[in-house]
């Protein structure tokens, strides 16, 4: 639990929120987020400098192998618990619309931890993530990306049997004359940069934090 007291400054509160996310302290985050709301602290800043900062630190710990999937998931649980409390209190509109990413595990596979980690990290990085879940048919990625006005389509798989479905998404986009409207990124156990190049995707990442960097870079190009 945290030692947050009402006399601390907003900056201290943000730091405590961030620490509680890194510390996987879901109850602590709830208490701090509630305190932030009661004190009228700016919710947007509390999310950005508190929750998002904490998740980003957790991502670094994951990359350096101090944290593993269990820790990262509990950090995310804590972050989302805080978001539930703080989001309704955002007063000022964010400076620009959040860029959208359509993400899912391609058809034929139900391994979704990797996809979920990427989704969490994208969420924490300010993207609006439309999660299509697992076992998603190629055409649905295309339809949803169009309907949602997404910038990026993110495809995940752990199974070699489903790699062809990734290629099919790219083909469907091309055939529909939509290829230039979206950036397509791929990831998962059997995927490599070579494979990404061969199917004509825009990028590959071996890790969830790496995927966020990649999407940030590509979304910038698409915008």
């Amino acid at each position: 639990m945290t030692n947050q007291t009402l006399s601390d400054s907003p900056a201290d509160l943000y730091q405590s929120l961030s620490d509680a996310v890194v510390g996987m302290d879901e109850d602590g985050v709830r208490a701090l987020a509630t305190a932030a709301v009661e004190r009228g602290v700016d919710a947007y800043t509390a999310i950005d400098r508190g929750l998002v900062d904490g998740m980003s630190r957790a991502g670094v710990l994951f990359e350096t192998e101090e944290y593993f999937i269990p820790e990262l998931l509990l950090c995310a649980d804590a972050m989302y618990a805080g978001l539930d409390i703080l989001r309704p209190h955002i007063v000022r509109a964010s400076t620009r619309a959040r860029q959208r990413v359509v993400i899912g595990v391609v058809e034929g596979d139900t391994h979704d931890i990797g996809k979920n980690l990427v989704k969490i990290m994208l969420d924490a990085s300010g993207f609006e993530v439309i999660d299509l879940g697992r076992d998603v048919p190629p055409q649905r990625f295309v339809d949803e990306a169009v309907a949602q006005g997404a910038e990026v389509i993110a495809l995940s798989t752990l199974m070699t049997t489903t790699m062809d479905a990734m290629a099919e998404v790219v083909t469907l986009l091309r055939d529909a004359g939509l290829r230039d409207r979206f950036r397509v990124v791929v990831g998962g156990g059997p995927i490599s940069q070579n494979f990404s190049d061969r199917i004509g995707a825009d990028g590959y990442s071996a890790s969830a934090p790496g995927a966020v960097k990649l999407v940030k870079q590509l979304a910038g190009e698409a915008a």
Partner: protein, 347 residues
């Protein structure tokens, strides 16, 4: 030399014709006899026919009777989806929360799910080629089976929030694994243990030591007590757990291509044989035959002088559609290098 003669001579340090070589063929065996992968479901005879035909077609050293990792979890209530002609995958775990763990019962290998069919496949394979080739039966480790029973994300959250529940579940999975191991041994086969979720891509080395290791040690200890040496495979990154993997009593560690064979050799090569690690997807499935030969020579260069011995292998089970030419290329490269290994042959 037959595979059994080759392994025996290699183990005694006597001359052999080539290093043992195991491209880990699972459902690719369906392609060898021209059947659909889904036809293996509930058909032990067909699995055996395919595995024997694949062994004869390629001439590798170890047969592993395997279709997917879910057979034990399925026999305890997990739902598995069988696509028409691809490897099966987990549709839904048996339970969704810790308070339901008490409802699970260890599977009866002679009655539940597809376990009896897999046992039949093992028995038939041993009958057909057990006199010349090493025949192993795939056995999923307790922690991994636990993850299929309750869902991986639920399991790893519990590892931090309710460790006692994880131990309770792994205990049930262990009981099921021990019963299945006994049945596999009685079928004349050696269990080959895979504990995919113990990967350091999923849980930390510390969590492995707490939740994976104790159950593996009991399982492998039992198999050893029946006079059989065990190969243990853990997918992905494993560098931080090699010592613990060796402490389980496994005689051979099968190393994924996410890990470095040369480093494994330095760390645990004086305690365990190593096996690996030509990339199954990037090289075996998608590479050219030249790339397969190059990768094969590379792994031999890295680990042929491992003190406890080395088996040239793919880093994990081969994808179903791995080209036959690439499997042949792996064995050809091993034959060309021959024995004794001359380093100039590895360039």
């Amino acid at each position: 030399m037959t595979p059994i003669e080759r392994f025996a001579a290699y183990g005694r340090g006597e001359p052999i014709d080539r290093l043992p070589c195991v491209p880990i063929v699972g459902n690719t065996a369906a392609r060898v006899i021209g059947v659909k992968v889904s036809e293996f479901r509930g058909n032990g005879k067909l699995i055996a026919d395919a595995q024997v035909a694949a062994y004869r077609r390629f001439g590798y050293d170890v047969i592993r009777v395997f279709t997917d990792l879910y057979t034990q979890a399925e026999a305890m209530g997990a739902r598995v989806h069988y696509p028409d002609d691809e490897t099966a995958y987990l549709q839904a775990p048996a339970i969704d929360s810790a308070d339901r763990i008490g409802t699970l019962r260890p599977a009866d290998p002679h009655r539940d799910g597809n376990l009896p069919h897999h046992l039949e496949a093992m028995e038939r394979t041993v009958q057909a080629v057990g006199h010349e080739a090493v025949v192993t039966g795939a056995l999923t480790g307790p922690f991994t089976t636990a993850s299929f029973l309750i869902g991986t994300e639920t399991l790893v959250r519990l590892a931090l929030k309710n460790p006692a529940a994880v131990h309770q579940l792994c205990g049930i999975a262990l009981e099921a694994s021990l019963a299945y191991a006994e049945a596999i041994l009685d079928a004349g086969c050696t269990p080959s243990v895979t504990d995919a979720m113990c990967s350091s891509k999923v849980i930390s080395p510390k969590q492995f030591r707490e939740f994976g290791f104790p159950y593996l040690k009991k399982l492998i200890g039992y198999i050893n007590s029946r006079g059989r040496a065990v190969t243990l495979h853990i997918c992905g990154k494993t560098r931080g757990i090699w010592e613990a993997m060796a402490d389980t009593g496994a005689a051979c560690l099968s190393i994924d291509n996410d890990a470095d064979l040369a480093e494994a050799k330095t760390k645990v090569g004086d305690r365990v044989r190593l096996m690996g690690n030509v990339p199954p997807s990037e090289t075996m499935l998608q590479g050219t035959t030249a790339e397969v030969r190059q990768a094969t020579r590379r792994v031999i260069a890295q680990a042929h002088d491992n003190p406890k011995g080395f088996v040239v292998a793919s880093g994990c089970s081969l994808p179903v559609e791995t080209p036959f030419a690439n499997i042949d290329a792996m064995l050809d490269a091993v034959r060309e290098v021959g024995w004794p290994i001359r380093t100039e042959a590895l360039a």
